[in-house]
């Protein structure tokens, strides 16, 4: 055992005494300085952000895992936002029916609607609108209800030429009756 220890010590001393030397230290130094100059002039924003956010992690695999996890959460957030926007878009486009009136939700400008459709990953259909048969039936039904409710009023207006003339004049003024 003693002999092995001596040999071990000799071996370690042999390696210690022979410090490996760089063959071309100038070339390596030049490469390093070139790399730094290039990096400095380019000012890589990505690296700066990554260093700022993850510079405190020294262990390579932990740093990579943290970056992957952060990217995943950002993507998840983006996806959730898109889903929420699509849902809002669907809800705002739904009919509001109070039994007598038939109307659509809040109207949006064309560009606003296009933006929302694009964000939610759907194709924007332009001016095309599809209405189901059921919707049309309900619309006709609500118009009929309105006509029945206001029939008395219409009859009175018909019987009184002065009132009729006055109403037509007011409607022309407000642009609701065309000649």
């Amino acid at each position: 055992m003693g002999n092995e220890n001596v040999k071990y010590d000799d071996l370690i001393r042999l390696i210690q005494k022979n410090r490996p030397e760089m063959k071309h230290p100038d070339i390596v130094a030049e490469k390093i300085m070139d790399e730094l100059q290039k990096g400095k002039s380019e000012s890589a924003i990505k690296d700066i952000i990554l260093e700022f956010l993850f510079g405190w992690i020294y262990i390579g695999w932990v740093r990579k895992s943290m970056i992957i996890a952060a990217a995943f959460f950002v993507l998840l957030f983006g996806y959730q936002q898109a889903v929420i926007l699509r849902r809002i878009n669907e809800l705002s486009a739904q009919r509001i029916n109070d039994g007598t009136l038939f109307m659509r939700g809040t109207e949006r400008s064309l560009s606003e609607r296009a933006g929302l459709f694009r964000l939610s990953g759907r194709d924007f259909a332009g001016k095309r609108t599809s209405v189901s048969k059921k919707d049309i039936d309900e619309m006709i039904k609500s118009i009929n209800t309105l006509q029945i409710k206001y029939q008395d009023l219409i009859d009175q207006i018909k019987d009184d030429p002065e009132l009729k003339e006055y109403i037509e004049k007011r409607m022309r003024e407000t642009g609701k009756l065309k000649n």
């Binding site: 000799d10 390696i15 490469k31 390093i32």
Partner: protein, 186 residues
């Protein structure tokens, strides 16, 4: 651990202020040291040179994090060890070096003329790979830092983040393995 001279401290302080000219001086001064540590851990000339480049670039990017010139050397060791570990992890699947009789003969020969011996990098690489080829990356790093770089367990703990008990256990295993090889081949 090697103590810094006043000139080295002054260069480090200048680098901390973002002076690239002074950083060149630091590169010229520290590159041979970084190379020797990386070479002893990795046992490969090209990989050690790559680690020198990566380490020096990291130093430039993070030198402001060094609290004082005194803490520079442990911090430098930590960067070198991390870079070497990354490299060893990438090379994990490469075939391990097998015991080479010619290298053992060379070791035996050089040990007998220890006073005058002067090893080439290739010879040294062969020796290191032969001796540490069967050790894990962790054992290899601790063996080099403790036995060849002669760092204390406290310093190794500071560099690697491992507990002293863990360091002792890994070093014990590495020494045992080496003694077995010596017994068999020398």
């Amino acid at each position: 651990m090697h103590q810094l001279t006043d000139i080295e401290k002054s260069i480090i302080e200048q680098c901390r202020n973002g002076n690239l000219q002074d950083f060149r001086k630091l590169v010229e001064k520290e590159s041979p040291f970084v190379f020797s540590v990386a070479f002893r851990i990795l046992g490969n000339n090209d990989d050690a040179e790559d680690v020198v480049q990566e380490t020096m670039i990291t130093i430039w990017k993070k030198i402001r994090e060094v609290r004082s010139a005194e803490s520079f050397r442990p911090w430098l060791y930590r960067i070198i060890v991390n870079k070497c570990n990354d490299r060893m992890r990438k090379k994990k699947r490469e075939p391990e070096t097998t015991a080479d009789d010619r290298t053992w003969a060379l070791i035996s020969n050089k040990m007998s003329e220890i006073q005058v011996t002067n090893l080439e990098n290739e010879e040294l690489a062969g020796m290191i790979n032969l001796l540490t080829g069967k050790l894990s990356a962790k054992q290899k790093t601790i063996f080099v830092l403790s036995e060849i770089e002669e760092l204390s367990n406290d310093e190794i703990s500071m560099v690697t983040g491992m507990t002293k008990l863990n360091i002792k256990a890994n070093l014990h295993y590495a020494k045992k393995r080496l003694n077995e090889m010596i017994k068999k081949h020398l």
